[in-house]
């Protein structure tokens, strides 16, 4: 019996090997038998590899309708000559590797993308460089894939005629890792996409957001850098998003912020660094969010709370040298601040347990006044404001009574450098 099983196994292995050997490699180059990618795709069998050699391929509307691997050697250039979409994948198990795609057409009626994946699974897009694009990588109802180590460099000037770097629409369980996105409208955009992991990406100099969530739940993003975007990250109408160890830097301008939370529930924000943003985090109508161990450094406003935000907790964060730590527009407070370090804290610690004996009130009177009458901001950094801030600190009258950190830390908790 056991011998029979063994033989069966060997035969099975043989069959597999034979089938594998059918998977051919088809070379494509300027003076090969096959000179265009479209032709290559049409002659290829399932699971073949198209080996695209160095050269310029002026093609667009390449339709990949069977499981294939497109492997570029020394970055062959696929030039769409601004005529429209370049690659469309409508089959499962497609791999794109090492391509250089330029000149995607711009349209006001359809979203042309350099690479569009439609209703497919198990795709892998890696080491691809996109330039002069409209939309970069566009996933449409495609799941279980991976977008790894790509570089997307746009030259977007206006929001209305530019597209997003990586866009996920109704796509689930996709991994977006180690990509560099620059100069597009939204660096990475998620709409109706659940269970996505976004790690180690760099999204800079984008017109609108570095990363943008809409109606997407249970996503995680870790170790990303968002720098110098219109706004770093916008998380809107989503649930249970986890945000760890990201870097939000230099999102600076009159309407900029590091992170915008709008209608977000049950999120977790941990170990992030918000540095030199006009507004570190702008929170609107977001509930049950935990903020732990984040650094807020040199922002205009570290945290700006607007509208109804309930049951949020801020603990063990470092608030360092922000013009305003917290801004609040209502007298009602349902959020907790506990054991944070505030660089503006001037209390003392008599029993030396590392926790200040006097509560810290993070809302300055000036920020309260500015919220009510925005024009008063012209008195920023005037002696008068410093004096009334001081008197409010000594005996609070206007700012919410219970809005305070009862146990402020005396020392910065941890140093990331």
């Amino acid at each position: 019996m056991s011998a029979y099983t063994n033989i069966l196994f060997i035969v099975f292995c043989l069959v597999l090997t034979v089938q594998r050997s059918f998977a051919n490699t088809i070379p494509i180059c300027v003076d090969c038998e096959i000179t265009t990618i479209t032709e290559g795709v049409s002659v290829a069998m399932e699971y073949d590899t198209l080996l695209i050699n160095k050269g310029v391929y002026k093609e667009f509307n390449i339709l990949i309708d069977k499981p294939l691997t497109l492997l570029g050697q020394d970055y062959p250039i696929i030039d769409g000559e601004d005529k429209g979409e370049i690659i469309r994948i409508i089959s499962d198990h497609v791999t794109l590797d090492g391509l250089f795609i330029i000149n995607v057409g711009t349209s006001y009626t359809s979203d042309y993308a350099a690479i569009r994946v439609v209703k497919s699974e198990h795709f892998l897009i890696q080491n691809v460089v996109l330039e002069k694009l409209f939309f970069g990588i566009y996933l449409e109802k495609s799941s279980q894939g991976r977008i790894f180590h790509n570089k997307i460099i746009g030259d977007a000037i206006d929001e209305y005629n530019s597209g997003n770097g990586i866009q996920l629409w109704h796509s689930h369980n996709v991994e977006v890792d180690r990509n560099i996105v620059r100069g597009v409208r939204d660096g990475i955009y998620l709409e109706f996409s659940d269970n996505i992991t976004i790690n180690n990406n760099t999204s800079t100099d984008n017109l609108r957001y570095g990363l943008h969530f809409m109606f997407s739940n249970d996503d995680v993003y870790t170790n990303n850098t968002f720098e110098n975007n219109g706004a770093g990250v916008a998380v809107m109408f989503s649930k249970r998003i986890k945000m760890y160890k990201n870097n939000f830097r230099k999102n600076w301008g009159t309407a900029s912020y590091g992170m915008l939370l709008k209608e977000i529930n049950d999120a977790e924000i941990k170990d992030n660094i918000f540095e030199e943003n006009t507004i570190g985090i702008n929170i609107e109508g977001s509930n049950r969010i935990t903020y732990t161990k984040n650094d807020f450094v040199s922002n205009g406003w570290a945290v700006k709370v607007l509208g109804a935000c309930y049951a949020n907790t801020f603990s063990q964060n470092n608030f360092l040298y922000n013009s305003f730590d917290i801004s609040y527009n209502s007298k009602l407070n349902d959020n907790t601040f506990e054991q944070n370090y505030w660089s503006d804290y001037t209390g003392y610690d008599l029993n030396k347990d590392g926790i200040g004996d006097v509560p810290y009130r993070p809302v300055k009177l000036f920020s309260y006044i500015v919220n009510r009458t925005p024009e008063t901001i012209v008195l920023l950094r005037s002696l008068f404001m410093d004096i009334i801030d001081f008197s409010e600190k000594v005996s609070p009258i206007f700012t919410p009574d219970n809005l305070m950190d009862a146990n402020p830390l005396m020392k910065r908790q941890y140093d990331r450098n």
Binding site: G253, S256, R372, T373, E375, L379, L380, R381, S382
Partner: protein, 260 residues
């Protein structure tokens, strides 16, 4: 007049207070740059100090100098010299030496820390120019007060009150009126109110040049539009000059009529 200016100037240059003032700024500049090493960030901190301290020191120093040199002034008045030259000479001597202390005291450390290589040079120049203007304005105002008040205590009181008014109380009234009239469009009003006070004007001029101006939001955009173009700059320089010239004119006018 030049002779008296020269005398006052060198008298002050030799005096201890000028050195203290000079050394204070020198130390401040070095400490700031030692702690920070970033020229453009140090400019922000300096701004806070300059818009408060420079007017205060200008006021106190002006009043003090006037009362202290009163006997010498009376001696000069007995000589065949024009009255306006005596007082203008003294005024320019005091304001000039204060401004020199300020510019040298802050200039030296910043130049040593590579001001010319950084792009903060324009901001820094603006800082020194407004600092210079504030010195001249507040010394002139304090001379006026001293000239009108024989009683030293009263004179000192008024001078400090003047500083307190322009540095603190004015902003308080400004703030109250903004809050009370918040239903109305306030951009033009706040622009006008800022221009009318030399301390506020200096503060805004410097703030708008720095990154921090992004915090000012919509109102900031209105201000930037106004001060960003040439007319705005001309108006603000003209306003600062007017603040200097008017008290000086009153000084020479008053000195001619005063009975000593």
């Amino acid at each position: 007049m030049l002779k008296i200016l020269k005398y006052s100037f060198f008298d002050l240059i030799r005096s201890r207070w000028s050195y203290v003032y000079f050394l204070f700024y020198l130390l401040l500049g070095f400490v700031l740059l030692f702690l920070n090493n970033d020229v453009s960030k140090a400019v922000i901190t300096l701004m806070n100090i300059i818009i408060v301290l420079v007017p205060l020191i200008g006021t106190i120093f002006g009043v003090m100098y006037y009362y202290n040199s009163k006997e010498f002034t009376e001696l000069l008045l007995a000589q065949p010299i024009k009255r306006s030259s005596i007082f203008l000479g003294q005024y320019l001597g005091v304001a000039g030496s204060l401004a020199l202390s300020l510019i040298m005291g802050l200039g030296i450390p910043f130049i040593l820390y590579g001001l010319f290589q950084s792009d903060a040079i324009f901001d820094f120049t603006l800082l020194l120019v407004t600092g210079g203007f504030l010195t001249f304005i507040f010394t002139a105002l304090s001379f006026n007060i001293a000239l009108s008040n024989e009683n030293r205590i009263k004179g000192f009181g008024y001078a400090v009150l003047l500083w307190l008014f322009l540095a603190v109380i004015y902003d308080g009234i400004f703030l109250m009126s903004l809050v009370v009239f918040k239903e109305y469009p306030l951009d033009t009003f706040s622009l006008a109110a800022t221009i009318l006070n030399p301390i506020d004007l200096s503060r805004i001029l410097i703030l708008l040049k720095l990154d921090i101006s992004a915090l000012l939001g919509y109102t900031g955009a209105v201000f930037k539009q106004f001060f960003g173009n040439n007319i705005g700059l001309v108006i603000s320089i003209a306003m600062l000059s007017l603040w200097t010239i008017l008290p000086v004119l009153r000084l020479s006018h008053k000195s001619k009529r005063k009975d000593f």
